[in-house]
């Protein structure tokens, strides 16, 4: 197209526009492929969950959620997240602080280790704890002698969840703190602030949005984790079942409506996470006011 227009002065503007744009068919094609893919793999399943959950009527849906085993699963999931998320928040801030503010031997190894839960299959993460704390594991006999149960009990579930979710906060903070540098903190120290004052008044305000973002992701994963928790839980109904495990049990019992009803809670959580995430992103973009235009040459 552009070659045809070349040499015709009257069409110069048209030529420029065409030269930077792909043909309409190609653009439409790309858009259709992208939207089609999204519909097929994301939107349709999402709708299907709610349709299935309500397929036997609202009464069955609510009953499935009110059932004691379901309620205990929800309680356990909330408890697990309530322990794992704050711990990982503290760990994430400490790890990011150490990695970005200090030079020490083995820093590279620490960064690699932080990523390990992402690299390892969740099933393996669970198995590690079985090997450590299980009846036939390294510490099993000693734990049994002390009458402490970790595997097939709540502590094991919490431990596995912490392991699987610990990279989220640190991963959010490290790049941000690296790009921000330590100068503001140094300023605060020179001005007489203590280490704690510096953290509360300078570091924390600068990282709060990234921290919140990491916590939201961490929470979503802590509540939704299946693989690692499945290995250590023992699937004891009403005792060691989390929401994802409960969904699987219901499904295996062909109780589809109930399975989808409970699954819809997790789905709602996912949607809430997305909304919160967008909110945080929007907020953090607004947190830094745009450069005001200044009069020329203002010193």
């Amino acid at each position: 197209m552009s070659t045809l227009a070349a040499g015709l002065p009257a069409r110069t503007t048209r030529q420029v526009r065409l030269a930077t744009r792909e043909p309409i068919l190609l653009r439409a094609g790309v858009a259709i492929v992208a939207i089609g893919f999204l519909m097929l793999f994301l939107i349709v399943p999402l709708v299907a969950i709610f349709v299935e959950a309500l397929s036997s009527g609202l009464g069955v849906y609510l009953a499935a959620l009110r059932e004691p085993d379901a309620r205990s699963a929800i309680r356990l999931t909330l408890l697990t997240a309530a322990i794992a998320v704050p711990l990982n928040m503290v760990f994430g801030v400490a790890a990011a602080w150490a990695v970005t503010r200090f030079d020490f031997r083995g820093k590279g190894i620490l960064i690699t280790l932080i990523d390990m839960p992402f690299a390892v299959s969740p099933v393996i993460s669970g198995l590690i704890y079985v090997l450590l704390f299980g009846l036939h594991g390294w510490l099993g006999p000693w734990l049994k002698a002390q009458d402490i149960q970790i595997i097939f009990a709540v502590p094991g579930i919490v431990l596995a969840t912490i392991f699987v979710t610990f990279p989220f906060v640190a991963r959010e903070l490290i790049p941000l703190m690296q790009s921000q540098g330590a100068e503001e903190e140094e300023s605060a120290l020179v001005l007489g602030a203590s280490g704690w004052q510096t953290f509360l008044r300078v570091t924390l305000p600068n990282i709060k949005w990234a921290l919140l973002y990491g916590v939201i992701l961490c929470n979503a994963r802590a509540m939704g984790e299946f693989g690692a928790v499945s290995v250590v839980s023992g699937h004891i109904r009403g005792l060691t079942n989390t929401v994802p495990l409960h969904v699987e049990i219901l499904y295996n019992e062909y109780n589809f409506a109930a399975a989808f009803a409970v699954a819809s809670i997790l789905t709602l959580l996912a949607l809430l996470t997305l909304v919160a995430r967008s909110l945080v992103e929007w907020k953090s973009r607004r947190a830094v006011p745009k450069h005001a235009t200044l009069p020329e040459g203002e010193p």
């Binding site: 300023s187 120290l189 020179v190 001005l191 007489g192 305000p205 745009k290 040459g297 203002e298």
Partner: protein
């Protein structure tokens, strides 16, 4: 409050940032640490502030004869201004300046109204009172730097340390701000040290210039001293444009090509290689050969914009020569590219190569082991006939 650093060394891994440095800053002076990047000037400043610790075995850091080496950075009462301002981005200008007062322990924290009063007084001092409610990102570079200065002054520091304070600003703002800093210093008289790699800045602003290179202090002196009486070839080259001619000294003479000058510092017969250095304004252009101490050169470029006319020439050997002439002289000579003229030095400095040094060492006479850098012998010949 005077500052003294005795025998300070600092290594970063295998890199020597500071090599047995001794620095003394008298009370109330404004001192420039001048040097190329990597010369250790910023490291020295950060060690004085307490943001970096010197190598074990280094001597003390003294503020008014009191050792502060073991004091935490917050207890040293220094004001530090960072190159990139390091303002707290989530606080307003007012909050930034008030920070140092707000973080004080309750016992010596001023009251709310006192803080407000002090902050506004400081913002007036840096002429930014009208911007108190803005955020740092809404300010220009020069304004940010002045806020950083006000913030540093808020804690009533005993010494003020500035790391490349004008480094990130454009040329015009930079000039304005450095004159302003000089005036401010004359007003408040706090002992100040600033780091710069810009010789013009150091010479214009400072009471005293400390020239550094490769982790060592090469020369300390007033701006006029370091400019007119450089201690080494490095200082001469760093403080402004200079023509360097490779020659030798022998028999009480400094020689290059067929030109020679008296040089009584070296009376031995044996020749020693030397660098003969001339600032562009100390070269004279003649239309005709005058005496035996001038050399022919061809004009390659003339830049007549500015208070002096800058003439680039090339010698027969292909070596470039750079000369500054007055406008009157330029008009009289009627210089154009392509003209062949005769050039003679009015004043030149001779830097003789050290006995044990190879010719490579020539370019960096200051880099050798024994600290104070100086060529083996050095002399100046003025107004030779």
């Amino acid at each position: 409050m005077s500052i003294e650093a005795r025998d300070v060394s600092k290594h970063f891994g295998a890199f020597t940032a500071l090599d047995h440095v001794n620095l003394h800053v008298p009370t109330g002076e404004l001192v420039a640490l001048l040097g190329p990047s990597g010369s250790g000037k910023t490291t020295l400043l950060r060690i004085i502030a307490g943001l970096e610790s010197p190598d074990p075995g280094s001597g003390p850091i003294l503020f008014h004869d009191e050792d502060v080496a073991d004091r935490r950075v917050g207890e040293r009462r220094v004001g530090f201004v960072f190159q990139h301002y390091a303002l707290f981005r989530h606080m307003t200008v007012f909050e930034n300046v008030a920070f140092g007062l707000r973080v004080r322990p309750r016992a010596d924290r001023p009251s709310r109204s006192e803080i407000s009063e002090r902050v506004h007084a400081l913002l007036k001092l840096v002429q930014l009172d009208w911007l108190a409610d803005r955020y740092p990102s809404q300010l220009s570079g020069g304004q940010r730097q002045r806020v950083a200065l006000a913030r540093a002054l808020a804690v009533e520091p005993k010494v003020l340390l500035l790391d490349e304070p004008f480094g990130a600003l454009d040329a015009r703002v930079r000039q304005e701000l450095r004159r302003w800093l000089r005036r401010l210093h004359d007003e408040i008289h706090v002992t100040s040290v600033f780091v710069t790699h810009d010789q013009e800045e150091a010479l214009e602003v400072a009471d005293r210039v400390v020239v550094m290179n490769e982790g060592k202090i090469i020369q300390v002196g007033s701006p006029a001293e370091v400019f007119h009486d450089p201690a080494s070839e490095f200082v001469m080259q760093f403080l402004g444009r200079v023509n360097v001619f490779s020659g030798r000294v022998e028999h009480g003479k400094a020689v290059f090509d067929s030109l020679e000058w008296d040089y009584p510092e070296h009376v031995e017969r044996r020749a020693r290689p030397a660098k003969l250095m001339v600032r562009p304004h100390n070269l004279v252009i003649h239309a005709k050969p005058s005496g035996k101490s001038c050399f022919p050169a061809r004009v390659t470029h003339v830049n007549a914009a500015g208070p002096t006319v800058k003439v680039e020439l090339v010698r027969e050997s292909g070596e470039p020569v750079f000369v500054e002439v007055t406008r009157g002289r330029y008009a009289a000579l009627d210089l154009h590219a392509g003209n062949v003229v005769y050039v003679s030095p009015r004043e030149l400095r001779v830097f003789v190569e050290k006995e044990d040094d190879s010719s490579i060492e020539f370019n960096r006479p200051d880099a050798r082991d024994n600290g104070e850098a100086r060529p083996a012998r050095e002399g100046s010949i003025r107004d030779w006939k």
